[in-house]
Symmetry: C2
Subunit: 140 residues, 2 copies
């Protein structure tokens, strides 16, 4: 897959109204499904598909973003644990799922992908509020 046909490079996804902010190497978005409250997606600003394609300095900068977002989510939600996942099975462009696993998590020992649930999308004021809240926590 080239950058030309990449839905992240084209701007088709993630949805612009889910954008939280630009970070150093990545852009942060509220994940479409907020069943796991606070689930944030970080998209690398340039097209790459594997972590070894990045120069060490670039990779370190990206991981500083990941850690900054995780620290913000931790301060906000006090999760039991945070999950960090860079998969790319559907969209290979490097991106991170950063998922706080809160105290009321229905399956705290399992990966989120195995947890059957009704998706919880946000829209309107609820989305605006979540975006603003996360921006205030990631911006410091």
């Amino acid at each position: 897959m080239t950058a030309v046909s990449c839905v992240f490079c084209s701007g088709e996804r993630p949805a612009a109204d889910h954008k939280v902010m630009d970070l150093g190497a990545t852009t942060a978005y509220v994940h479409d499904d907020q069943f796991f409250t606070g689930w944030t997606v970080l998209v690398l600003k340039r097209h790459a598909t594997e972590l070894f394609e990045l120069a060490p300095d670039e990779r370190a900068l990206m991981m500083d973003d990941v850690a900054r977002v995780a620290a913000g989510l931790h301060a906000l939600y006090r999760p039991r644990k945070i999950n960090y996942e860079c998969l790319g099975n559907q969209v290979p462009h490097v991106h991170w799922h950063i998922v706080p696993r809160l105290a009321d998590d229905p399956a705290p020992r399992d990966a989120v992908w195995t947890v059957a649930h009704t998706p919880r999308p946000l829209a309107g004021p609820a989305l605006t509020e979540r975006v603003a809240m996360l921006r205030s926590r990631f911006g410091g």
Copy 2:
């Protein structure tokens, strides 16, 4: 959970015979279930549970290990994609699942955790061979 009660810190797990090698910040092991061929686990050498607990230099060193292992797996197996996951839902001590998704993967668009399968443990010569093969690829 303190380091004292941590199964990674105590040496209870991963099994010693699954150890591939020490890297800079982590130790590499063959994952118990090799249904996804090449699945490697990297365990941080010290006890920490979230990525923001690590100093930036330590985090960068850890991610250099992750990238080195991924590059080795890529050279060996030519996977369609590699998955990188730091979850900690069952053992919070920071560790990475690095999973090459090969051409014959039964569910290439899905996370490994959702793929029903009979576990494929290795033992005896098959384990020794896998360990040696990975060591030769990660050591360069």
